[in-house]
Symmetry: C3
Subunit: 135 residues, 3 copies
């Protein structure tokens, strides 16, 4: 079963999509399954991370921005704006797809795990995440 | 089919869980399948890497520790200890889930591939890895 | 259904295998499915990234080579050549498996997404990518 989630993002950073995904799983009514998420973009990615303390989220964003700064003089791919090439690199280092087992119609996430869409560009917009349930 | 592996870890580093996973696959007795591993934590991750030469393992650990040091003055998430925020970042850069095709009831790993649980915290403990077989 | 793709690579860099994978999916003739790719190596990896502008590809390769240089004096795993340990680290930071939902017998890739085999060693050779369809 395939569902496409359209996720509005306000700009760069980690957006919690755990509830959206949990709803898609719940609606499917499957006892046991594998839930695979796939993001259809190359400048945004997926992350399963600590969902409790906002400081962990802030530090993750800070650290990745420091590792992959804008305006590196070595970039040649600059026509789409200073945040575009860093966004591609950030996507390459994080996940385009993640798979989470489902039991009793619930995602088997750990206690502190949330599912995040990591938007790497500054502009607000809409991103598509495909949810596949099966297996 | 879902199995939860409880993996004891003695502290930070790469722990080979290949035999544990192979046993879970073997016990399932499936001819052809997809084996998906999912770790239920945000400060430990999964890695498929060289399983032969211990120096490769040691260098991987050394390199990641150098890239993501403890006590970075920019960290704000510090209440859970100096190894906690680096552990979240290390998890974000490596894998929370990996999928390995199964044929003839065996994981289709390459000759030199082992499956590792990468513990990023110092303290010993137990980590849960969910094994899903299906598809 | 499992297919093994043998991909010839001319040396280090991103090799577009989108057409090879699309052909394997098309040959399977499945309406709805999950396509999982798994690379059977520890010094090459998989990446889903921008497939349009060659400068994005070039910058990705440049950036990873800068982050993980050869001849780091801290490496101890050096017997297999100066490009071997960097290749293992690069593989660890990118993907060994990726899963892409399939609908109407087509991969649900975004408009600008291509599937790449990222060869991290210099020498030319052949790499094996397992394609699993199911779920």
């Amino acid at each position: 079963m395939i569902t496409v989630l359209r996720c509005a993002v306000q700009g760069q950073g980690l957006h919690d999509i755990s509830a959206l995904v949990a709803n898609a799983v719940s609606a499917a009514g499957v006892e046991e399954s594998l839930c695979t998420l796939f993001i259809r973009h190359t400048s945004a990615s997926l992350l399963i991370q600590e969902n409790y303390d906002p400081s962990a989220k802030a530090d993750l964003e800070m650290w990745l921005n420091k590792l992959i700064p804008e305006n590196d003089p070595d970039y040649t791919h600059t026509l789409e704006g200073p945040d575009d090439m860093p966004a591609h690199i950030k996507s390459a280092l994080t996940a385009t797809s993640v798979s989470i087992p489902v039991s009793d119609n619930k995602l088997m996430l750990g206690t502190w795990q949330g599912i995040f869409l990591w938007e790497h560009r500054h502009r607000p917009g809409e991103r598509e995440v495909v949810v596949h349930l099966g297996g």
